[in-house]
Amino acid sequence: MSEERKHRLPSDDRDWKPAKLSVTDKLGLTKFKPDAESHLSIKDKEICHETCRRKYCTHTCPAQVYRWEEEEESISIAYEGCLECGTCRSGGCPYDNIEMSYPRGGFGVQYRFG
C-alpha cells in the first residue's frame, strides 16, 4: 500500500491496518451492567419531531445512544451503552429536551481502566 510506505510504518507490522472502529465496536470493549429501566428519557417528543432539524443528540452523544428512527418519527434511546458523561443534559441537546439521571447504584458503565 502506497499509504503505508508513505508513513514508514514499523517493518514488523507491515500487514497491520489501523482498525476503523465504529462506536458499536468501541462500546463492545467497555464493560456495562445495564439496569432493566432507562435512566434517560425525552421530555417532549414534539420538539424532536417538529423543532429539532439536525437531531443534535445523534451527533453529540459519544456513545451514539440516541438514534432518529424514521419510521417511528422519534428518537430511540439505547441507554444500555450510556457512558454517563452528561453531554445530553449539558448542551448536547440544544433544546434541553433530554432528561438524564445517573443509573441506580451498581448499574451502568464499569471502567476497568478509566
Binding site: 510504518l9 489501523p18 472502529l21 467497555t30 451492567k33 449539558s90 445517573y102 478509566g114
Partner: protein, 440 residues
C-alpha cells in the same frame, strides 16, 4: 448488581457525608478520618473509580500531601519524564518538548494512572484511616431543613443518612449542587467532551517507539488540525503496557459544527505521526467524560449551610496545564480541614464554612484558576488558533528547513510574505495582544 445495594445502611449519624469517591471526595475523607471525624463516602459505582476517567496525570506533590510517598504503594503506570506539545496540520508536526531526569527520580513530578485502579486504591487508604466507603449507592437528593443541608437520600431502602455537613464531590454533572441552589448548571461553552481509548502495546515496543528508558513515561498534548477547527486538544499518554489516546473538544463548538467526538478520535489515530506510535496496538477500552473548563468564572457557590462543593463539581480544572486531579485532591483536603474546624466550633453555618473559600483563595488552586480565567472564552472566540497558526508555523519551519536554490534571506522573506498573506498585520497584532492579555 450484587445484594449489597439492597442492604439498608444502619450506621446512624455521621459528622460528614461525602458524595462521590473520586480524588476530591477521598482526599476529604482521609483528612476527616485523620482528624477523628465519623465520615462516610457514598459512591454510585461498584468501587470508587469504576465510573471515573481521565487522560490522565496525577501530580506527586499534591497527592503526597494526602498520602505521603504514595509512589511506593499506589497502582501507578509510569512516571512522566517527558512532556511534548505538538502543533499539527495533519501532514506535518512542529513539536516542543521538555525532558528531565529529575522527573524520573523521587519524589517524581507526575504519573500516568488509570482512575479505576488509582481511586480504588485511594479509597483503601481512606478506609484504613477509618472512613466508611459505601459503594453501589446513588445519592438521589439532599435532605434539607429550611435552607440547611442535613443529610442525603440514597437509592437504598431506608437510605436516608443524617450528617452535620455534606461535601459534594459528585463530579462534572453537579446534580446535587444544582438542587442545593449552589450551581446553575454547567454551560456547554465551558465544558470539554473528551473521548479516549486505551490501546495495548507490548512494553518494549512502547518504550522503543516513545524513546523511553525502562519505566519512564511520556505525555503528549496535540493541537491543530485534529479537532477540525474546534478549540480542543488531542492527547497521548503512555502507561505500563498500554497507551491512552483521546480527543477533547469544547462542547458548544462541537454542537454548533455537528462534529462527532469519536470521529475526531479516529481521524487523530489515523494521522501518520500518531499511527507510527500506536501501530499494531489493540484496543482495550473506550471511555467518554466531560471536563469542566469554565475555570474561575464557571465556579458554583462553594458553600452553603451544611454543605461544601469540591473537585470537578466545583469546576476545579486548569485546562491550560491539564491539571484536574491535583486541584481536586487539594480542594478535598481543604474541605476536610474546614469541616474539622467547624466541628471544633460546633457550627456548620455558611459563615463558618466560608473558611473553605478563604483557604482556596490563598492556595494555588484559586491563584492558578484566576490566572487562566479568560482562556476558555478566548480560545472559543479565536478558533483560528487551532487551524491557521499551526499551519503557518508548519509552513514557515518547512520553508526554512528545506534546502533548494533560494537563499536563507529569500526564504525568510517568503515566510514573512506567507504570514502576511494569511494574516493581515493588524489582525496578527490584535491576536498577540489578546493572547498576551489572556495568558499573563
Amino acid at each position: 448488581m450484587s445484594d449489597l445495594a439492597n442492604i439498608p445502611i444502619t450506621s446512624g449519624r455521621f459528622d460528614a457525608i461525602i458524595v462521590g469517591g473520586g480524588p476530591a471526595g477521598l482526599s476529604a475523607a482521609c483528612t476527616l478520618a485523620d482528624g477523628g471525624a465519623r465520615v462516610a463516602v457514598i459512591e454510585r459505582g461498584d468501587w470508587p473509580g469504576s465510573k471515573n476517567m481521565m487522560g490522565g496525570l496525577v501530580f506527586s506533590q499534591p497527592t503526597a500531601q494526602v498520602t505521603p510517598e504514595f509512589w511506593k504503594k499506589a497502582p501507578l503506570e509510569r512516571h512522566i519524564t517527558r512532556r511534548e506539545m505538538w502543533l499539527t496540520t495533519g501532514e506535518s508536526v512542529a513539536k516542543a518538548a521538555y525532558e528531565s531526569t529529575d522527573f524520573g527520580a523521587e519524589p517524581y513530578n507526575s504519573f500516568s494512572v488509570f482512575r479505576s485502579r488509582f481511586d480504588k486504591w485511594l479509597a483503601g487508604e481512606a478506609r484504613a484511616k477509618g472512613a466508611l466507603i459505601i459503594t453501589e449507592t446513588l445519592v438521589e437528593d439532599l435532605l434539607m431543613e429550611g435552607d440547611r443541608v442535613v443529610g442525603v437520600r440514597t437509592g437504598r431502602p431506608d437510605g436516608d443518612l443524617d450528617a452535620d455537613v455534606v461535601i459534594l464531590c459528585e463530579g462534572v454533572n453537579p446534580f446535587l449542587a444544582e438542587k442545593a441552589g449552589l450551581s446553575k448548571g454547567v454551560k456547554p461553552e465551558s465544558l470539554a467532551l473528551a473521548v479516549k481509548e486505551v490501546l495495548a502495546l507490548p512494553r518494549e515496543k512502547l518504550e522503543d517507539r516513545f524513546n523511553l528508558e525502562e519505566g519512564n513515561g511520556a505525555a503528549y498534548e496535540v493541537i491543530g488540525e485534529i479537532t477540525g477547527g474546534i478549540p480542543g486538544t488531542g492527547f497521548i499518554y503512555t502507561n505500563r503496557d498500554t497507551v491512552s489516546i483521546g480527543v477533547g473538544v469544547i462542547l458548544k463548538d462541537m454542537v454548533d459544527q455537528t462534529h462527532e467526538a469519536y470521529a475526531l478520535l479516529e481521524r487523530f489515530k489515523a494521522q501518520p505521526q500518531v499511527q507510527r506510535l500506536i501501530h499494531g496496538a489493540s484496543p482495550r477500552e473506550y471511555a467518554a467524560h466531560l471536563i469542566p473548563e469554565g475555570g474561575y468564572r464557571g465556579m458554583p457557590r462553594l458553600h452553603g449551610n451544611g454543605v461544601l462543593v469540591a473537585g470537578d463539581a466545583a469546576g476545579m480544572v486548569n485546562a491550560v496545564f491539564t491539571e484536574g486531579a491535583n486541584l481536586a485532591l487539594l480542594s478535598g483536603r481543604m474541605a476536610g480541614e474546614t469541616v474539622l474546624r467547624a466541628r471544633a466550633c460546633g457550627s456548620f453555618e455558611a459563615i463558618t464554612l466560608d473558611y473553605y473559600r478563604q483557604q482556596l483563595e490563598k492556595s494555588i488552586v484559586m491563584k492558578d484558576l484566576k490566572t487562566f480565567q479568560n482562556v476558555t472564552p478566548f480560545l472559543s472566540s479565536h478558533p483560528h488558533f487551532f487551524t491557521m497558526y499551526p499551519e503557518l508555523a508548519s509552513a514557515a519551519v518547512k520553508e526554512l528547513l528545506s534546502v533548494d536554490s533560494l537563499s536563507k534571506a529569500d526564504k525568510m522573506h517568503l515566510v514573512i510574505k506567507l504570514v502576511r498573506s494569511q494574516m493581515p498585520a493588524r489582525k496578527l497584532m490584535r491576536d498577540l495582544y489578546d493572547a498576551w492579555r489572556t495568558f499573563s
